[in-house]
């Protein structure tokens, strides 16, 4: 079963290091930049493991840990605390609060995995192609409809990853006569050139292959896409339900 791992750290660097560490395992990774956001994500996603930094703005890791332990639905989630401070008092404080384990920065990804395997069941991903790996990250299937879930921000690397597996995905969809896809932009926080180019490219691929598609996004995503010449005419649905209805 896929393990949900939530990383809560204000440093994008650390979040990427954690992501890299877990990439060979059957994990679904989510992120938050501070304790408050972390609590929201934890309540929504109910992760199987939380990797939590201490020093963060808005709400620090100690406060978030306290709130996790006070919530009956979240208190049993194992937490590995990340800290730049290895001092005795600091360590004693976090251990007393019930953290499952801790790791001192700097750390190697393998060290984090060593801690994690003692706490949760980590399954190695079966040997797959790089495209399969990327597809797993962004693509899911519900019934006969594929959902292509965009992350909060698309950079050049992510655009390449996402475009990399789409041709094979379209081939599969055509073979199985399941030519319906929803492009889910609800997690998108930043619209940029990479994202616009990717959306246009995907639409071109879908249209060429006769794949029916719908795009779903929040109000702010709709407004922002309208301001770009390339995407101003796109029809964006406000909910997955509307998109599914449109695909029937």
């Amino acid at each position: 079963m896929t393990l949900k791992v939530l990383t809560v750290d204000d440093s994008k660097t650390i979040r990427m290091i954690v992501k890299k560490a877990f990439k060979d395992y059957d994990c679904e990774l989510t992120e938050a930049e501070n304790g408050l956001e972390g609590l929201e994500v934890a309540r929504q996603e109910k992760p199987g493991l939380i990797v939590l930094d201490i020093t963060m703005p808005v709400m620090n890791g100690i406060e978030m840990l306290g709130q996790l332990k006070a919530d009956p639905e979240l208190k049993k989630i194992p937490v590995i605390m990340l800290t730049a401070e290895s001092g005795k008092d600091n360590v004693m404080q976090i251990v007393k609060m019930g953290v499952t384990d801790y790791i001192v920065k700097p750390f190697k990804g393998e060290q984090l995995i060593e801690r994690a395997v003692k706490i949760v069941s980590l399954q190695l991903l079966e040997s797959k192609t790089v495209e399969d790996d990327h597809a797993g990250r962004y693509l899911k299937k519900e019934g006969d409809v594929r959902h292509l879930v965009f992350p909060d921000k698309v950079n050049r690397q992510i655009a390449l990853e996402m475009d990399g597996f789409i041709p094979k995905t379209i081939e599969e969809m055509t073979k199985n006569n399941q030519k319906k896809i929803i492009v889910d932009l609800r997690k998108t926080v930043e619209i940029n050139v990479s994202m616009i180019k990717l959306i246009i490219l995907l639409i071109a691929r879908f249209s060429k292959a006769g794949v029916k598609y719908k795009i779903v996004g929040t109000e702010s995503v709709k407004t922002e896409l309208k301001s770009f010449q390339e995407t101003c005419d796109l029809k964006i649905d406000g909910s997955i339900e509307d998109a599914l209805a449109g695909l029937q």
């Binding site: 660097t13 703005p57 401070e85 290895s86 001092g87 600091n90 920065k105 700097p106």
Partner: protein, 160 residues
Amino acid sequence: MAQVNMIDLREFIIKSMSEVFDMMLSMSLNVVDESSIIPLNGDKLMGSVSFAGKASGSINIHIGGNFAKTITAKMLGMTTDEIESNEEIHDVIGETSNMVGGSLKSRLCDSGFPCALSIPSVTSGGSFHVESKDWQFHEKILMENNNQFVIVEVFMKAST
């Protein structure tokens, strides 16, 4: 004051920087003779953390723009061309300062000098100069990897 003296600040910082670079970047850092210390030319960045309490001070890590890009790419597992924005570089330098600062703070706390660490800050530009006043202990260390340089400067004083 005598107890703060017992923390060999120079050796501690060298060890801490070497550990960060080794663990996170698989890079070795060599200490260069301090008489060879020259200002870093061109675009540079400085990551800083401060600490305050029974011991107070700051750690400043000065690094040239190109070396900063190199370590950012290494830490994030990409090529330098794939670095999308300065934000990523600043985040890496800030996190590096945080780790070195955190390590020193822990050592000070364990030695009887409780203090709190600030969040890291990053300054960038072509020409800037940093001064700290009223320090009692000061170290400036030049380290290099593959002819790329980083200067670590620590200012510290103990509360009376």
